[in-house]
Amino acid sequence: MTADDNADLHQSSPEPSRLLPILNQPATRRTALKAAGAALGLAAFGKAVSPLWSIPENVSVDEFLQQHYKELSDTDKQKVFARLESETQQKLGVEITISDPPPIPGVRYGYAINLSKCNGNGACMEACNKENNHHRGVQQSYIRVLELPKGTMDMEAGNTTYDHTVPQDDKYYMPVQCQQCDNPPCVTVCPVEATWKEEDGIVVVDYNWCIGCRYCEAACPYHARRFNWEEPEIPSDEINPDQGYLSNRVRPQGTMEKCHFCLHRTREGRLPACLEACPTGARVFGDLNDPESNINWVLQNKRVFVLKEELGTQPSFFYFFDS
C-alpha cells in the first residue's frame, strides 16, 4: 500500500467535519438533540413492547423462579400443586386435584396394537382429548390414526384426515402416538432437560421448565409431540379434574406436551383412557417386566414389529396382526 493509498483509505474525508461533524457545531445543541432522540426512541420502544406487560399478570414471581421438577423438594411440590389448583379455581371456577404418582418400582410399561382389529373409528383420539384436557379449539389428541391401503407399510401412502365411514374394505388403520422410546431422540436434544424418561419407561415433560424451542418436536420420528401454540381453552364443565403434574394438567401456552400413557391413571393401576375407549379391543397395555401381563403374552405369541426400527429409537410400543 502506498502512502497515498493509505491517505485515501483513512483520511479520505477531505475535511474532518464529515466524519466528526461535531467539531463544527455547538456540542450542546447536538447533544440535546441526541438526548431528545434517544428519549423519543425509548418511549416508542416502551410503547411497541407494551403487549409484554401481560406477562407479569400471567406469570407470577413464584412461577418464574420455579426450579426444575427434579430439584423441587416435597414441600416445594405441595406449594406448586396448591398454587396450580387455586389458579385453576380462580380462572375457570373448577375444583381440581393435582397428583404426582411416582413410577411403580420394577414396572416398565409397554403398549401394543392389534392392527387386524383396529377399524379406524377414532374413539381413542376422542378419549385422549377429553382425558388429557386438550385445547378444544383444535381437534387435539396425542394419537393420530393413519389410514393405509392394504398391501403397504409405506406411510407416504397413508392419510390421517379421512372423514368417510370406517372401515374401508381396501384399507387398514394404524394409530400412532408416543412410542415411549427406550432411546428417545426427543430427550437427547432438549437443551434444558425439560423432558426425560422416567423409570417405568414413560417420557414426560416438565411444562413449567420447557422453554418452547421445539427441538424435541423436530427430533421425534413419530410426530408424537404437540406444542401449545396458544393458551388451551376448555369449557369449565369439560375439564377433567383428576390431574397429574407431569401428565394431563392444563398446559401453559408456549410449552411442549406429549402422550404419557395416562400416568396419573396407569401408575395407580388403571388403564390408559384410549384403551378403555377402544370399542374393538385392539389395544393391549401392561407391564413388560411382568411375565403374566397381557402385553407379555402378545410379545410372546404374536409376531410384533415396531415403527421405524432402523432409527434405533427402540420403541416400547408394538404392532401386530392376527394371523
Partner: protein, 428 residues
C-alpha cells in the same frame, strides 16, 4: 463535554481524558452516533422497522406462537431459517481473517476489522432469532449454565449456545482491542490478540459445523440426515459472507467516502470464485443422490424442487435460488466483476440472496415436509414473522452501522498510524 476540543483530543497529551477502555468505548459510541442527514435518516428508518418488529414480537409473546404460521407439522420456520443463514454470514467473516493473519496480507489487515464487526452484528442477530423462536422467552434463564439445567454435551443446541456466545466474545475482544490500540497510537501487543485470532478461525468453522449438526443429527428427518450438510453449510457461508463484505465495502465508500483498497476486494472475489463452485458442486451431488436413487427418502427433495402431490409452495423459491447461484457464479468467474463495480454488486447481491433462500427456507422447511408420518402441511410465514424478522435485520444493520462508524472514527482520528498498522508488527 462542553467544548469541541473535548471531542477531538490530542492523544499525546498526558492529561488526555480518555485513557480507560470503557471511556474509550463511550467516546466512540458518542462519535458513532454523529453523522449527516443521510446517516440520521438511515438510522431513523432502521429504528422504525426495529420498533415494528419489537411490537410484533410482543404480541407474539402475549398471544402465543399461534400468530406465526408454524404448526406441529412445520415447527420451525422463518426465524430458524434466518438464524441458520446468519450463522453462515458470521462465519463468512473469517475469510478475511485467514488471509490477514495467516498469510500476513497487509492490505487485508487494514480492513479485517470489518469482517469481525460483521460477525458481531450477525451473531447478535442469531441470538435474537433464537430468542424470538422460543415459546417461553422469559424462561431463557433455564439455559444459563449453573442456574438452569444445561443439557451438555448431549443436546446440540447447548453446543450452539456455547459456540455462538464464544464467537461473539472473541470478536468483541479482538475488534475492541485493536481499535483501542489504534486510538491510543500504541502497537497492539500480539499476546493480547493473536491467540484469540487463531482461536476465532477454528471457532468460525465450529459455529457453522455445530449448527449443521443441529439438523443432521436428527435421524427422523431424512432431508437433513446427510453427512454433506456441514460442508455445504460452510461452502455457502464462504460465499455469502464475503459477498456481503464486498457490498459493505461499496457502501462504506459511498456513504462515508472511505475507499477500500483493491487488494482485499480482489482476494475476496477470488475466494468466492472457489467457494461458489464448491457450493454448486455439492448441491449437484446432493440433488443427484436424491433423485437418481429415488425411494421414500426423496420426498422432501421432490417437494422442494418439483412439488409433491400438488403442494409446491417452495418450488418458485428454490428455483430462484438456483438461478441466482448459477448466475452469480458465472458472473464471479468472468473478468467483468473486476472491471465494473455494478456487475460486482449485482453478483454479490444474487449470491447473498441465493444463499439466504437455499440455507434458509430451502433448508429448514422441507425438513418438515412431508412430516415424519408423511403428512403434507405447507407453511408460509405470517405477517408477524416477517415483521419480527425485518425488525431483527434492522437491529443487525444498526449495530453494524454503529460499529463501522466507530472504526471510521478511530481511523480518522489516528490516520498516521496506518503506516505501522498491526500488520507491520508481524515478523516478516
Amino acid at each position: 463535554m462542553s467544548t469541541a476540543s473535548d471531542h477531538y483530543p490530542t492523544l499525546d497529551d498526558a492529561a488526555h481524558p480518555i485513557r480507560s477502555y470503557p471511556k474509550f468505548l463511550w467516546w466512540c459510541l458518542g462519535q458513532a452516533t454523529n453523522g449527516g442527514l443521510l446517516f440520521y435518516l438511515w438510522m431513523f428508518v432502521l429504528t422504525a422497522i426495529a420498533l415494528v418488529g419489537a411490537n410484533a414480537w410482543s404480541v407474539q409473546v402475549a398471544e402465543g406462537m399461534i400468530v406465526t404460521n408454524m404448526t406441529d407439522h412445520v415447527s420451525w420456520g422463518l426465524y430458524i431459517a434466518n438464524f441458520t443463514f446468519m450463522v453462515g454470514v458470521a462465519a463468512g467473516g473469517v475469510m478475511m481473517v485467514i488471509p490477514a493473519y495467516l498469510y500476513h496480507d497487509k492490505k487485508m489487515h487494514d480492513v479485517v476489522v470489518i469482517g469481525e464487526m460483521l460477525a458481531i452484528a450477525a451473531i447478535l442477530m442469531c441470538l435474537l432469532f433464537v430468542l424470538v423462536d422460543l415459546g417461553r422467552p422469559e424462561r431463557f434463564w433455564h439455559l444459563i449454565p449453573g442456574i438452569g439445567r444445561f443439557n451438555w454435551p448431549m443436546s446440540m443446541l447447548t453446543w450452539d449456545v456455547i459456540v455462538l456466545n464464544g464467537y461473539l466474545l472473541l470478536n468483541l475482544h479482538i475488534c475492541g482491542y485493536l481499535l483501542y490500540m489504534q486510538f491510543l497510537g500504541r502497537r497492539p501487543n500480539q499476546a493480547w490478540y493473536l491467540p484469540f485470532v487463531w482461536v476465532s478461525i477454528f471457532w468460525a468453522i465450529s459455529i457453522h459445523t455445530v449448527t449443521a449438526f443441529l439438523y443432521c443429527g436428527l435421524g427422523g428427518r431424512p432431508f437433513w440426515n446427510t453427512a454433506l450438510l456441514a460442508p455445504r453449510f460452510l461452502a455457502s457461508a464462504f460465499v455469502a459472507g464475503p459477498a456481503f463484505i464486498l457490498i459493505l465495502f461499496s457502501c462504506i465508500h459511498r456513504a462515508a467516502g472511505v475507499k477500500i483498497d483493491d487488494g482485499p476486494k480482489r482476494l475476496l472475489i477470488n475466494i468466492i470464485r472457489v467457494t461458489a463452485l464448491v457450493n454448486l458442486l455439492m448441491v449437484i451431488s446432493e440433488v443427484f443422490t436424491e433423485f437418481y436413487t429415488g425411494g421414500g427418502h426423496t420426498a422432501s427433495a421432490r417437494y422442494l424442487f418439483l412439488g409433491l402431490h400438488g403442494h409446491n409452495a417452495l418450488v418458485p423459491w428454490i428455483w430462484t435460488a438456483v438461478a441466482f447461484d448459477v448466475l452469480s457464479t458465472g458472473l464471479f468467474l468472468s473478468p467483468l466483476v473486476f472491471r465494473y463495480s455494478k456487475v460486482l454488486i449485482a453478483a454479490c447481491a444474487m449470491a447473498f440472496v441465493g444463499a439466504w433462500i437455499e440455507k434458509g427456507m430451502g433448508l429448514i422447511v422441507p425438513g418438515f415436509i412431508p412430516s415424519t408420518l408423511h403428512e403434507i402441511v405447507e407453511y408460509t410465514p405470517s405477517l408477524t414473522e416477517w415483521k419480527v424478522s425485518a425488525g431483527i435485520w434492522a437491529v443487525g444493520l444498526m449495530t453494524l452501522t454503529i460499529l463501522l462508524k466507530m472504526w471510521i472514527t478511530v481511523f480518522s482520528t489516528r490516520p498516521s498510524l496506518s503506516h505501522e498498522s498491526p500488520a507491520s508488527d508481524q515478523p516478516a
